[in-house]
């Protein structure tokens, strides 16, 4: 779609499963609210599903002005084609200027299909979104109020700002936890708009036969603080130091692959390329050398503390605070300092 609708709304795809909204949808409502206020337009949430009308309320409470509900038994469970048809039909009808999706496995499946159908640009895994003007040197054109889609690329070695000057809507996916979930304003209300989208039989050719969803035992992604231990911790017994520091800071316990492979802790705690990617406010790396496979899973933490006895350990290349020394001395000092801080508050 090339026609730019300057009054277009800022939309959020309201991902839900089994009658429960995904947290990232609520986080995105908050961000969409900010962007929409800057642009002077409204926030819309698109909610495909079945019997999910009651989910409009939390979307309003987190910043939506309108909720577009597509209620259809064929949308009871996610499959790519029917969901894409629902979202792209509403985009063509209402012409939002921005559409945001959670960068969940579902969002990353759906959003590109919608982008292809609407021929619009899509930027994956944004870590920040802003509104700004762009001067295009090539065409000497000034573009007002574009969505700046900011994301790491090249294995996390560069940060790129992407814009869509001509073809709208401007679409982006954002990982869970990148934007904070704002406090719900239960008094906020909005307009519920019921939409009907025809879903022809040829889109219903994928059938889910069986499904297993793990219940999250630990919430690495959602933690503001992650304290992770590596091979340098030395033993399963000594790993208790890492756990104690995590408790003192109110954070979750993470681990490098080396620590998991050595049996210090369960694989659920693994951070990195083959584990969980975390972007906490604070990441503490205890006795982790910092192979690139680990760094890609944690280097976007807002602040990183690294403790290692090897001053040349690669982990220091991404650390904001580098402590060279024996972790068996330093970690107890940190636990003590963290506890003192709680007492003085």
């Amino acid at each position: 779609m090339s026609n730019k609708n300057l009054q277009g709304e800022v939309w959020v795809f309201a991902e839900q499963e089994g009658g429960k909204l995904h947290d990232v949808a609520l986080e995105l409502c908050g961000k969409a609210r900010e962007l929409a206020d800057t642009l002077g337009v409204q926030v819309g949430a698109v909610l495909p599903g079945y019997n999910c009308a009651e989910l409009a309320k939390p979307l309003f409470a987190h910043g939506a002005d309108k909720v577009y509900i597509v209620d259809d038994p064929n949308l009871a469970r996610f499959t790519s084609m029917p969901y894409a048809r629902a979202v792209e039909t509403l985009i063509c009808k209402h012409k939002p200027q921005i559409v945001l999706y959670g960068a969940t496995p579902l969002g990353r499946d759906l959003a590109p299909r919608v982008a292809s159908a609407t021929r619009s640009g899509l930027t994956a895994d944004c870590t920040d979104l802003q509104i700004g003007d762009v001067f295009e040197a090539r065409s000497k054109q000034e573009y007002k109020n574009l969505l700046h889609q900011i994301r790491p690329a090249f294995g996390g070695n560069i940060i790129a700002t992407i814009v869509n000057p001509e073809q709208w809507p401007q679409m982006a996916t954002v990982r869970e936890g990148v934007f904070p979930k704002k406090e719900a304003d239960e008094a906020r209300t909005g307009e519920v708009i019921e939409e009907k989208v025809e879903i022809p039989a040829e889109l219903l050719v994928v059938e889910a036969l069986e499904r297993f969803v793990e219940t999250k035992k630990i919430d690495l992604k959602g933690s503001r603080v992650v304290v992770a231990g590596g091979a340098g911790v030395g033993s399963k017994e000594n790993f208790q130091l890492v756990v104690d520091l995590a408790n003192a800071l109110g954070g979750a316990v993470g681990a490098s692959r080396a620590a998991v492979d050595s049996g210090f802790i369960d694989r659920d705690h693994q951070v990195g390329q083959t584990g969980t990617t975390v972007r906490p406010a604070l990441y503490v790396a205890v006795g982790i050398s910092g192979a690139v496979q680990h760094r890609v899973g944690m280097q976007d933490a807002a602040k990183i503390i690294a403790i290692n006895n090897d001053p040349d350990a690669p982990i220091f290349s991404v650390a904001h605070y580098s402590i060279v020394g024996d972790l068996n001395e330093i970690v107890p000092m940190m636990i003590k300092a963290a506890q003192e801080r709680v007492v003085t508050e």
Binding site: R113, I158, E207, I323, A338
Partner: protein, 283 residues
């Protein structure tokens, strides 16, 4: 045995795990010459999935890549592992393509290949990690997409039963064919190159790889298609066909400049904590 026609979409990528300080130019852009070019890891998993279908259920494997003439490297690797046919799509007009334009070019190439049962591609490429090109190709071809394949359970009567990852969990789905399937690394262990196939195919080259004045014997030629060959509209390829534009690039390899050395003492640790509280990192 039946005969399932698989098409695999692969990409040659810079090895981003080898990035060091000198891989970034002073202006913050990437010095691609300093990075080895490799077969995108999850595309190797996609090739393996196609070869698995061929081994278990019968059929053929055709591989398509889009890139510079040098990308023929990954096509030779496919031949060494058992692909039947490989095609290089290369054209200056495709340079600067974002995922939307890339999926347009690839889907046009697929249409030229003709009828098929499966398209396999890696979930994502390590240079961008977007995971968008696969689903976008599926949409352009009007076929279902199954993302994050971990296991091919069965293929019969024009359907495939597949296990796919849900991140935290899995799902078994049954789809009609043709379908596009994106494959994750956990799905399989890509087979090694076969010595006999290396011997057979090592002289194969794309016409654009030939040195000036050199001719490649017809039996050694890798098929090479331009945008014209695949009937692609130039307005939907390369820069003109890409709605997303890179506005700005910042290198973060240099990020450690802001790093603070903290003394391994009680004072050092306390000082660091009060700074974190002041910066609102700790509440």
């Amino acid at each position: 045995m039946s005969s399932y026609r698989s098409i695999v979409l692969v990409k040659q990528v810079p090895d981003t795990s080898k990035i060091t300080g000198n891989a970034m130019k002073e202006d913050g852009t990437i010095n691609r010459a300093a990075l080895p070019a490799i077969f995108n890891p999850e595309d190797l998993s996609a090739l393996e999935a196609a070869l698995e279908v061929k081994d278990r259920f019968g059929g053929t494997v055709t591989v398509i890549t889009m890139g510079l003439p040098k990308a023929a490297d990954v096509l030779r690797e496919c031949l060494y592992r058992g692909a039947d046919r490989v095609i290089l799509v290369t054209d200056r007009g495709a340079g600067g393509s974002d995922t939307l334009a890339t999926s347009y070019v690839l889907s046009q190439a697929v249409k030229k290949v003709g009828e098929f049962d499966f398209i396999f591609c890696g979930r994502q490429a390590i240079d961008g990690d977007t995971a968008q090109t696969g689903p976008q190709c599926a949409e352009k071809l009007g076929i279902p997409q199954i993302c994050y394949l971990t296991e091919i359970i069965d293929v019969k009567d024009g359907t495939a039963t597949l296990r796919r990852s849900l991140g935290a969990g899995w799902e078994v789905v049954k789809t009609t064919l043709p379908a596009l399937i994106t494959v994750v690394e956990e799905a399989n262990e890509p087979r090694p190159q076969a010595a006999i196939k290396v011997m057979r195919h090592k002289h194969k080259r794309a016409p654009l790889e030939a040195a000036e004045g050199e001719t490649i014997a017809p039996e050694d030629q890798i098929e090479q298609w331009s945008l014209g060959c695949i009937d692609a509209d130039p307005e939907r390829c390369g820069f003109p066909g890409s709605p997303t534009k890179v506005h700005k690039i910042l290198s973060i390899v240099l990020k450690k400049e802001g790093s603070v050395q903290v003394a391994p003492t009680e004072e050092g640790v306390r000082g660091m904590f009060s700074e974190l509280v002041k910066d609102r990192v700790l509440g």
